[in-house]
């Protein structure tokens, strides 16, 4: 709702016809609920970011440096030299329109500048003006426009309205990836100090403390105590969770939301139970406790700076290989960037499951295995005693989180696990899952509460598909593999499909896992087990 006060003459002006305008004219209106706050000064400082200052996107004056235009254009030239993707995707788009209705923000808002093609044109128009002959000569006729402050503001508005989910890319006949365009646009915006709180603050916290909330190591350890106490109450078993232990075989890295947020917490409990039950020789780390990489939403440099910790810690602790928890963009970073950023990981060994002996050949260079690959392998080899009936109160569907889906192709592993740990599993319609999955609407740093309306718009296509399986099969639980999903889907469903809850895959694993010596009457949420089994002595 516009809380920007209406002027008297505007109040009765109830024309609902939007103005038809040439898209070359910049049109960003910073209306509350549709943009994110700017990054706080102290975090800009901590990360040594350019043009440090307090500023507000809704203000007229963005306090840009005097030579901001040169900085941007110079930066653009540099990015063109460094990234073939950028240069190519600026050059070869034929504007066929195949991507137009594939963006969840477009589908939810109807704003034409949310069509991926037009989002990219916002940048492409400036590229044409300064880097192509036709654009220099013909100007607007060639779809070129001057770089002005309004254009910069429009970039900020729309490139922080793209969750880098890459759905449009799969429909493009040339694979043009709006995520690449958005990443480059954000790199450019960063050069003049335009970034948002929800990216910079977590990144700065991760840089300093290893987790996105800025929690120091002793408090981090204490949350483990909370978790272990809780597990003792739930299962009657005393579980050990080694932290910063040298010489362990495996380093486990999860997104740091898992240690503090809800419903992530239950997934965290699930990991702890699983590792205890199989007797895994592993360790957690306080220094590298965040797998998620908020730097990726900022610049490749910051992504690399943050990602560095994982290999550094693996080396320090002397582990053999690394196991990674449930997280979306963390896995984009690990699968497609980590080895390039901070490899080669020649000090590690090729991952082999100590329980089943399975060699994870697909991770032989990066040496990091996804937890669902690991657990699916355990189940296949019958290493876990599972009672899926314990999840009978849930009718479960699986939301393919964008990055594990479109960066890794992780489709079968989580589904295999789900089908083994619960009795009622239903997939959503074909064009909303797997590589065609819809984003939660809050990825890539857009999950701030001040951005709620935009998030609800962007998440509507996902919620709409959930509503369908809810009505058809009575689905009441959406499982997923992403910390941002776990944070943003609950409010999304609260608005669009009340009565549907959200969990991680390993929460359901934890529920179904029959542990040696357990006394269990409640699931990980403290609700009575659907069919409480007699405790096995």
């Amino acid at each position: 709702m516009a809380d920007d006060k209406l002027k008297p003459e505007e109040i009765l002006n109830v024309s609902y016809e939007p103005a038809d305008r040439d898209w070359l004219t910049p049109t960003a209106v910073f209306r509350k609920g549709t943009y994110s706050y700017s990054a706080p000064l102290k975090h800009q400082k901590y990360l040594d970011l350019p043009n440090q200052r307090e500023w507000n996107p809704a203000d007229a004056d963005w306090k840009l440096p005097e030579n901001w235009k040169e900085i941007i254009l110079e930066g653009m030239g540099r990015l063109l030299k460094r990234h073939r993707s950028f240069k190519l995707y600026l050059d070869i788009c034929v504007r066929c329109g195949a991507c137009a209705d594939k963006c969840h923000y477009f589908l939810g808002s109807g704003d034409p500048k949310n069509m991926p093609v037009l989002r990219a044109e916002l940048l492409r128009s400036v590229y044409r003006r300064y880097f192509t002959v036709a654009g220099k000569i013909f100007g607007r006729l060639a779809g070129a426009r001057d770089l002005t402050e309004d254009v910069l503001k429009e970039w900020f508005y729309y490139f922080f309205q793209c969750s880098e989910c890459r759905r449009c890319s799969i429909y493009c006949p040339y694979g043009i990836d709006t995520c690449e365009i958005t990443m480059m646009a954000r790199e450019l915006l960063n050069l003049v100090g335009c970034n948002i709180q929800w990216v910079v603050e977590p990144a700065s916290n991760c840089f300093r403390t290893g987790n996105h909330l800025g929690i120091p190591p002793h408090a981090f350890k204490q949350t483990f105590e909370f978790a272990l106490d809780e597990l003792k109450d739930l299962t009657g078993i005393s579980i050990d969770a080694p932290i910063n232990r040298k010489g362990a075989e495996i380093l486990f890295v999860a997104p740091s939301a898992d240690y503090f947020a809800s419903p992530h917490w239950h997934t965290f409990l699930g990991y702890l139970m699983l590792f205890h039950e199989i007797g895994l020789d592993y360790t957690w780390s306080t220094y590298a406790s965040e797998g998620g990489n908020f730097g990726l939403f900022h610049s490749s440099e910051l992504a690399k700076r943050l990602n560095n910790k994982i290999y550094a810690e693996a080396r320090r602790l002397g582990v053999k290989w690394i196991l990674g928890g449930e997280c979306g963009h963390m896995w984009r970073t690990i699968h497609q960037y980590m080895d390039t950023f901070n490899g080669p990981a020649d000090f590690l060994e090729e991952p082999v499951s100590p329980i089943t002996g399975t060699k994870f050949d697909n991770a032989r260079s990066t040496k990091m295995v996804h937890i669902t690959e690991f657990t699916a392998d355990l189940i296949k080899h019958d290493k876990l005693k599972l009672d899926p009936a314990r999840n009978d109160r849930w009718k479960v569907t699986f939301h393919d989180s964008c990055n594990p889906a479109r960066a890794i192709g992780l489709f079968a592993e989580p589904r295999y696990i789900l089908q083994n740990v619960c009795n009622h599993f239903f997939d959503m319609p074909e064009n909303t899952i797997k590589e065609k999955t819809f984003c939660c609407g809050s990825g890539a740093g857009l999950g701030a509460d001040e951005n709620m309306e935009m998030r609800l718009r962007g998440g509507f296509p996902r919620a709409h598909a959930v509503k369908y399986v809810k009505e058809k099969h009575g689905v009441n639980m959406v499982s997923c593999l992403c910390a941002i999903d776990k944070a943003s889907l609950p409010p999304l469903f609260e608005y669009w499909v009340p009565g549907v809850e959200v969990c991680g895959v390993h929460e359901l694993v934890g529920n179904a896992l029959v542990m040696k010596g357990e006394t269990r009457t409640a699931d990980l949420r403290g609700e009575p087990l659907a069919q409480a089994e007699e405790p096995t002595a």
């Binding site: 800025g214 709620m452 309306e453 598909a465 409010p491 608005y495």
Partner: protein, 180 residues
Amino acid sequence: MTLQELLRKRKKAILDRCLNLLFDTYPHDSVTLMKNQQNSFANPVGSTFRRELEIILDGLSEWADPGDLTPSLDAIVHIRAVQEFRPSGALAFMVHLKKAIREELQGMQTGPEHLDDLARLDLRIDELTFAAFDLYVACREKIAEIRVGEARAERDRLVRVVQAMTRGHGSRVTGHGEKS
């Protein structure tokens, strides 16, 4: 023919008219996709509008209880309430509904015998408009509630962290960037 029969007969035309008015509240360039894409999941907004408006129109021509129509109304209002509209713009589709029916019936032989029913229909639409207003406010309240919920969850997290930091180890809450 009674007014109800007229409405039933012209339902498709009224629905199209009404949908067109509704779609016209979106940027011109986006509308074709919303109008034409028939796959519900490829076009969640357009398909919801079409489905729910049809239910509302059916309901009106059956003199259905307004309460039975609120779920449909709610589905539309939910979408409009988070989009780029003022409150008045978000609910304009109810005015469009009235307009569409009037315009469509103009060409038909409506006579004095329909006047009572027309007045009754107007009243019914007005009732629904008020219901839509309530639903709209409920949506906006829900959004505010969700935001508060997020803030509260954030606070709870921090409380947990503070507890964790203080429990048994003295207080060692270090500020960001301060080296201890």
